[in-house]
Symmetry: C2
Subunit: 267 residues, 2 copies
């Protein structure tokens, strides 16, 4: 936690009555900022707006957020910035009051230490035991109710395993714990739909735009995973991470993954 | 928000890095305190312990919590006290660090203004459009991921409707938004199982103990609701609330509900 602005003021605290704390009543974005420029800014802002709209939160002007992202990242060549928007402070009870002022946090963090090596060498993953619940009302947005991810990440401690693959309660593949998943199969890019659970990632959205003719959003059963030619995880901070192994299944970082990594470097 | 203790100190703020805010990584209890005595204290403590165990949070000693509940409620004849335990402050990322110190908030609130009248006259309810996702890993405990309840409560604004009935994605009846539900049918007390979603309420637990021979936990399909003789909601703060109407279906506050209300007054 390098620098933090709460509602535009330097602070390291939020109100004990904030609905983000009491109910997870809010949304967030995590982005990579290099030389003051947030990568995929507009896609982050689009998803944030969708999330606020889904939860009925007031929209925060983008220029306010951009200024604060640049303030907290000033002095850091590269850093991670997290924006949290909550419904703010309110009386006890689930009913959201219309007049509540949202609370916004903009915080800079250091980039992960392993940044770069995983991109080149690929990572090991496991299939998580926890199954995501199916909840179309919250699917796609990056809201603050993340206990499923916390429990799934707590399933293992082996530092050689860097990612967990999440399935839904019907054993469809949904995503990694902190990134979306793509399977490369016969030259096509397959990625799960995010209409019943999971988060619509910004890198996922950018790939779907840039490689549209070769992409397909679909339900992906678990048994398609060992059949895939290549598998990768994408994440706004860590980029395109080839998966080298899931349990006994091994994958090479093949030509399609390398092509998308090269495209990513230009973003 | 009358009085608030954060980790035992008078404060109205929590760290901006708290995992309760970032992920909803914690649990809570809301209780009625009259003359310094929290009603159903042991049942609240049992559920809190179960929740901490499910999430892998350090347990907080009960005597510490009781002292803090009595501190914040001092000077109020009757008040509501909410305890929140989060995993505390940590570096960015879902993985819960073993060494993290939990953060605890103990806050006093005024009792709801309508306290008492609803108990006598009954309340009107509606069937919510939102369906609860099925997630056995989090079912039963009172965790901080409450966006489903927030969205369900935002579905209506008619002040004459005081409660929403939540169904799961398979259209089983689960609970009210802020209380458990019982159906009285042929003299028997039916209440939904809490093994796939919903919260195991403390009043529900107390009723199941006190009226054991007449109680049954089971799956309850929506079509059993119009057939019920009596329906009530139970909640640690508001007590036993007869439901007088759900949409077009009307119910009297019958003899079994009144019997349980009388039992409740002695608790």
């Amino acid at each position: 936690l390098l620098d933090c602005l709460v509602n535009g003021e330097i602070s390291s605290h939020v109100s004990a009555g904030d609905r983000g704390l009491h109910y997870g009543d809010g949304v967030f974005e995590t982005m990579l900022v290099a030389h003051g420029l947030p990568r995929f800014w507009q896609l982050h802002m689009d998803r944030l707006a969708t999330g606020c709209s889904t939860l009925g939160l007031q929209q925060t002007p983008q220029n306010v957020l951009l200024r604060e992202v640049q303030t907290v990242s000033a002095g850091h060549q590269t850093c991670v910035v997290k924006i949290i928007i909550t419904r703010g402070e309110a009386a006890r009870g689930y009913a959201p009051a219309a007049a509540t002022e949202p609370c916004r946090l903009v915080t800079a963090y250091p980039v992960p230490a392993d940044f770069g090596t995983d991109v080149a060498q690929g990572i090991r993953a496991r299939i998580c035991d926890l199954r995501l619940g199916i909840q179309p009302a919250l699917a796609g947005i990056k809201h603050l109710n993340r206990l499923e991810q916390v429990l799934a990440r707590a399933e293992w401690s082996d530092p050689m395993v860097q990612e967990g693959i999440l399935l839904d309660s019907e054993d469809h593949i949904i995503s990694g714990i902190s990134g979306n998943i793509f399977l490369v199969s016969g030259g096509r890019l397959l990625t799960p739909r995010m209409d019943r659970c999971g988060v619509r990632g910004v890198v996922r959205a950018a790939i779907l735009q840039a490689f549209k003719p070769r992409c397909e959003q679909r339900r992906i059963a678990l048994d398609m995973l060992p059949e895939a030619d290549e598998v990768f995880i994408c994440n706004a901070v860590r980029g395109i991470l080839p998966i080298s192994r899931i349990g006994h299944w091994e994958y090479g970082a093949g030509p399609v993954t390398r092509e998308i990594q090269q495209w990513m470097e230009q973003q």
